[in-house]
Subunit: 108 residues, 4 copies
């Protein structure tokens, strides 16, 4: 089955977005998409009539798209920072396995 790492996603993203000065513009798009996630949740919760025009899955993917794009143009290695932050959180909340250990034992 086709699967891909966050590192690969960032490499691909770099072919599309590569200028650090677009940080602001990409963040403005991210905020727009966060609003659409809110809208999708509001529809799911019955706070808004569902017109079938937005879905939680689509809008979350858009949020991740722009977050990854902003990270990429700012030379942020997301896998590294996710692992590091997870290590701190796992220690703080005394959770085991942490992501590093989980991956070491994973056959995915």
């Amino acid at each position: 089955m086709l699967t891909f790492t966050i590192r690969q996603l960032q490499s691909y993203t770099r072919t599309k977005y590569n200028k650090k000065e677009f940080t602001n513009s990409l963040f403005m798009k991210l905020v727009e998409e966060v609003g659409e996630v809110a809208e999708a949740i509001n529809k799911n919760d019955g706070r808004k009539k569902d017109d079938g025009l937005s879905s939680l899955a689509d809008e979350l993917a858009d949020v991740i798209h722009y977050a990854v794009a902003i990270a990429t143009i700012n030379d942020i290695d997301l896998e590294q920072i996710i692992l590091a932050k997870d290590q701190v959180a796992s220690k703080k909340y005394n959770q085991s396995p942490n992501l590093f250990e989980y991956l070491a034992n994973s056959n995915d």
Copy 2:
């Protein structure tokens, strides 16, 4: 080098978050983190005095953390949706290779 797929990250996330009814709470955390991304960008752009307490890398990782968590508890397969949306966007904007083709030719 250790690397991981979004699928693996979702599997790991499932060990921590698994109840669909936490969608709202996790989204409230996501909004908090989006505000901190704004704060980090504002500091980088000189709109706010930098006190070293937040970094763009950390805050983006937090946004991705909560977006992945919300997707996971709602049984959303992020890799699948990212590939599908990329295929549509690449066709629309006449861009090549798309993510699928990029991964097929990648040696990462």
Copy 3:
């Protein structure tokens, strides 16, 4: 000319929203509207094709609507807090007149 105070707007809002437990739901709507402000700004800046479906004025009014609603159901006196915060900020940044002084000299 018809004009109205924030206090009057809060009194009117109280006839529509009055349960503190709606804080979360109203905030979810606020986030949706903040996304639409982002969309309106993105259109104005040419980051998105303008389809005439949203306007900055409408979306800002919606943000204020929900912010006032959340304040109202939580018994927050917005005029009082706006005056108090302005006094602190004016002192900090050495600005004069502050809002209180401005209103005292205003004939609006």
Copy 4:
């Protein structure tokens, strides 16, 4: 008792912010404050340890501050648009009195 209209608040705001090109920067600040409202609600709901550093009242006032500032530099008459939108909504949802009628009968 001192009270003030939104029109007066916009006049005062105009003495501080007056360049339309600051729309983006002010919106970035607004997003930061929306995140802090989320944080305050998360604390109130027990999703986050309360350190007493942010309050719902303060953060909502900040959101309104930046929304009013963006409206002001874009020459948006908030009272007019609030009245117009309320008229449409009241008709749509068959609610009475609307804001206009409420103010006409108000002795505040």
